[in-house]
């Protein structure tokens, strides 16, 4: 994946020249710019260190965070999220309109945008990209090469030929105007359009690289691809013809893999890298006072919970479930397992989400009350199996330890929880089949839409499936169904708020935490704002001296 033989040497020469030239100005800056933001550094190469490598650079066919972290830099979607929330705004589309009660959308595209290969971005490109994902027979679908567009399937109800597939057709209305015709209403349609999974790839590049597109990404984003050594580093460089004037500010971005947390920190401290992901919570304290280092918090976007099997006695009794809700000491859990970097959860969806009901009174940690409630409901010497996941997840860094903490909590109220663990696949199969009493699991958001949480975890349609609580409440189902198809944000908010109240009362699960990922970086890094979706474009980021 080498661009040209002479290139690196050239860049270096440039950098050196720039560095030399800037030395004086840097001195100057120090002289008079104390209160002002520091002057930009000569070498605008940012190294972002992370624990794992990207899976693929074809964003649509993979779902992992590490991949999108990189593709965010090279690709753009029609719409974009706010820098720190899932609020949508213009992206490659300058404007958009909804028609026919949400059955038709028209996007007006930005003019003068070019792909990194020089070809123009236009309505045809949009059509090609969407059809590529939707249509298994499309020439660029590459299904036989193992490409699968799972997120497309989930977000748009399947693929061409599937019953639930919502996008009926895509029409090119003009060079810069494109129309989506839907079969059904879809509340999260616009939200989906902001997802980095639905970014635009150059059709010319698809033509040229075919199934190798995942190693030869060509988008419209601020940075273009230079090279990738797997499990080591991905090098991107500034795209000179980027449509936003004077952006990006960085010349080069390198995503460096350093799996070991403490090695990554060492590298940050020694200045070998500029931003690191996956900071060990315990190092946070030490870093806080440290010269030259700042930390960044990412808004939370997940839930870790303890679910009950509502089909099994005695967990079909909401009173019991409520009692147990009082038994868990979430604060200690967060202190021990997340070193404080998590929020105690009271709802299923993360706080920044549309429709988050902040009025809900959480079940307080109150062992005595819990014990009392149990006694009142007639549960003496309750004993059950507490299933715990065998693998760590973002929302649960150490499930077995968490299980132990909760085991201790239950013991305090005279309830015996026996920790059960098994192989991951078996765990999933058996919880789906309802073999469990109480189990631990969680969920991560993708597009900031609440339906992704509610629909998958608590709707009775998701039995068997994601609804491992076997929670069935027609009222809730009704509310969720309405909210899913509604296209009015306010209405949706209402509906979800209401659903959450019922759910809180029914207590099909104990919501535990929303974890907050923390990043650390050199204080030379300016304008870096982590996005809740685990990745963000570094368009505005700049390195100061």
């Amino acid at each position: 994946a080498d661009n040209s033989e002479g290139d690196p040497a050239d860049t270096e020469a440039n950098n050196n020249a720039a560095g030399e030239g800037n030395e004086e100005s840097a001195d100057d800056a120090e002289g008079d710019g104390d209160e002002e933001a520091a002057a930009p550094a000569g070498d605008q190469t940012l190294i972002f260190a992370r624990g794992g490598d990207s899976v693929s650079l074809d964003y649509a066919s993979v779902t992992d965070g590490e991949s999108s972290r990189v593709t965010e830099q090279m690709f753009e979607s029609l719409l974009s999220f706010e820098e720190d929330s899932f609020e949508i705004g213009p992206g490659l589309a300058e404007d958009w309109e909804m028609h026919d009660d949400g059955l038709r959308y028209v996007f007006t595209l930005r003019e003068g945008v070019t792909f990194h290969d020089g070809t123009e971005f236009n309505a045809e490109a949009v059509k090609t990209n969407f059809e590529r994902w939707a249509d298994p027979d499309h020439e660029f679908h590459f299904g036989d090469e193992g490409y699968a567009y799972a997120v497309y399937g989930t977000q748009f109800g399947g693929f061409v030929g599937d019953e639930g597939h919502v996008i009926d057709e895509i029409n090119v209305l003009g060079d810069y105007e494109v129309e989506f015709v839907l079969n059904n209403q879809l509340g999260s349609f616009l939200q989906n359009m902001g997802m980095s999974y639905f970014s635009m790839t150059s059709p010319a590049a698809l033509e040229e690289y075919g199934p190798e597109i995942n190693e030869n990404p060509v988008g419209t984003g601020p940075f273009q691809f230079v090279s990738w050594s797997r499990d080591d580093s991905i090098v991107l460089e500034k795209y000179e013809d980027y449509w936003q004037e004077d952006l990006p500010k960085l010349d080069q971005v390198i995503f460096q893999v350093i799996p070991d947390n403490s090695a990554r920190l060492t590298a940050l401290r020694s200045g070998e890298i500029d931003i690191m992901d996956g900071l060990n919570p315990d190092d946070l304290e030490a870093l806080e006072g440290e010269e030259g280092i700042t930390t960044f918090e990412r808004t939370t976007n997940n839930i870790g919970y303890l679910g009950f099997n509502g089909d099994k006695e005695p967990f079909d009794d909401p009173e019991l479930r409520r009692a147990l809700n009082h038994a868990i000491d979430k604060e200690t859990l967060i202190e021990l397992l997340y070193a404080g970097n998590a929020e105690p959860a009271k709802n299923l969806i993360p706080p920044d989400y549309l429709g988050y009901n902040d009025e809900i009174e959480p079940y307080e940690y109150d062992p005595e009350l819990a014990q009392q409630m149990l006694e009142d409901a007639g549960y003496e010497g309750l004993e059950f199996d507490l299933w715990t996941m065998p693998v760590a997840r973002p929302y649960m860094p150490d499930p077995e330890r968490a299980a132990e903490v909760m085991q201790a909590n239950f013991e305090d109220i005279g309830v015996t929880a026996n920790i059960v663990s098994m192989e991951w696949a078996t765990y999933l199969e058996q919880t789906e089949a309802g073999e469990h009493d109480v189990y631990m699991l969680g969920w991560s958001g993708t597009n900031g839409d609440p339906d992704y949480f509610f629909g998958n975890l608590l709707h009775s349609d998701a039995i068997p499936g994601g609804n491992r609580d076997f929670y069935r409440n027609d009222e809730v189902d009704e509310l969720l169904d309405q909210a899913k198809v509604s296209i009015d944000e306010d209405e949706r908010t209402e509906l979800y708020m209401e659903a959450q109240e019922i759910i809180h009362e029914d207590a099909p699960m104990i919501p535990l935490v929303h974890s907050i990922p923390v990043l650390a970086g050199s204080d030379r890094v300016q304008n870096y704002v982590p996005h809740p979706s685990t990745s963000e474009p570094l368009t505005e980021v700049e390195l100061s001296e």
Partner: protein, 333 residues
């Protein structure tokens, strides 16, 4: 000689087939539905079905194995489930990284181990002998992952003498041709990068090479002691040859075969130990490739990675066997 080589190669066939059978079976031995195991919790049933199809899990075992073998014979290691790329296309940089590290570690182990062993045997029961052998004993008992962590802590983090991770300075990526950084940096004429790449090798190389070094030192010593006691060394002594020349020319040459065997076997330790060292030192090698694949349940990668490492190991031992005949004229084939 030629016939022997052929014979040894023929003898490898059942071993290689057995190996492929074992690695092939990995995916079939996982309890539960492999496709679900791989895709995990948020997978749709359609995706599971598709993966089953892709992995060919619907076909009879024998057909699957035949396909797998036919693929292998054509150099097709299958496709990574995670990245959807052909494993055979991805694997070389990892392999090169590991080979570079392994060779460095082995060179370190052999140079230090052999010389320590020779001197210990020569100066048997001297202070040097005792110290060297105690160190070697500790060396063989050392958990290398711990040694690696401690080295990283002391030399990279506390003292800052050596880099803590990776193969090169991330700000100044090496232009890769062969993916052996020591060679690539030289090819592009960058001596500064060469020196940096070399520095990166030191900590993981020593961590990885410690156990083989200790084992080689012990083996060299005992083998040398036996040789030095032998009749023909006495014959050479009786010729009035200087002891140094006796020890190194006659002594070591005769002691080398068991040492060589150990070196061959220890490449196994190195290749296996690479998984540990590469994780600690963020070395993008095959060990980490496999280890990450385990974490991701990327079974085709696990299969291929293990098969390749084992095949390398088998061939190294074949080479060692063939080397014997160059060293020892008695081994005639």
């Amino acid at each position: 000689m030629f016939a022997y080589t052929i014979r040894r190669l023929l003898m490898l066939i059942p071993v290689l087939i057995g190996m492929s059978l074992i690695t092939f079976s990995i995916i079939h031995l996982i309890p539960g539905n492999p496709a679900l195991t791989i895709l995990g919790q948020q997978a749709t049933p359609a995706a599971v079905a598709q993966l089953e199809e892709q992995l060919g899990l619907n076909e009879p075992y024998f057909v699957q194995y035949t396909d797998y073998m036919l693929g292998l014979l054509q150099g097709d290691l299958g496709q990574s489930l995670r990245t959807n790329t052909a494993i055979s296309g991805d694997i070389w940089p990892f392999l090169a990284a590991t080979i570079e590290l392994t060779i460095f570690a082995m060179v370190f182990a052999v140079i230090v181990g052999v010389n320590a062993g020779i001197i210990s045997a020569w100066k048997q029961n001297s202070l040097f002998d005792y110290t060297a052998m105690i160190i070697a004993l500790i060396g063989v008992s050392m958990p290398i992952f711990w040694l690696g962590l401690m080295q990283q802590w002391v030399f990279a983090q506390e003292l800052g003498w050596l880099p803590a991770f990776g193969r090169a300075n991330p700000r100044d990526p090496v232009e890769t041709v062969t993916h052996f950084y020591l060679i690539d940096t030289l090819l592009s004429g960058r001596l500064d990068q060469f020196s940096i790449a070399f520095q990166h090798l030191i900590l993981p190389g020593i961590a990885l090479g410690t156990i083989p070094m200790a084992i080689i030192a012990r083996m060299t010593r005992s083998s040398m002691l036996e040789v030095l006691r032998s009749d023909y060394i006495r014959t050479v002594q009786a010729k009035g040859i200087h002891q140094l020349s006796i020890v190194y020319r006659h002594g070591f040459k005769n002691a080398v075969i068991p040492v060589l065997t150990v070196v061959g076997l220890q490449t196994g330790t190195l290749l296996g130990g690479a998984i540990l060292t590469e994780t600690i030192f963020s070395w993008p090698g095959i060990g980490r490739y496999v280890f990450d694949a385990i974490g991701n349940r990327d079974y085709p990668v696990i299969q291929s990675g293990i098969l390749i490492i084992a095949t390398m190991f088998v061939f190294i031992n074949l080479i060692v066997d063939l080397l014997y005949s160059f060293i020892d004229p008695r081994i005639k084939y």
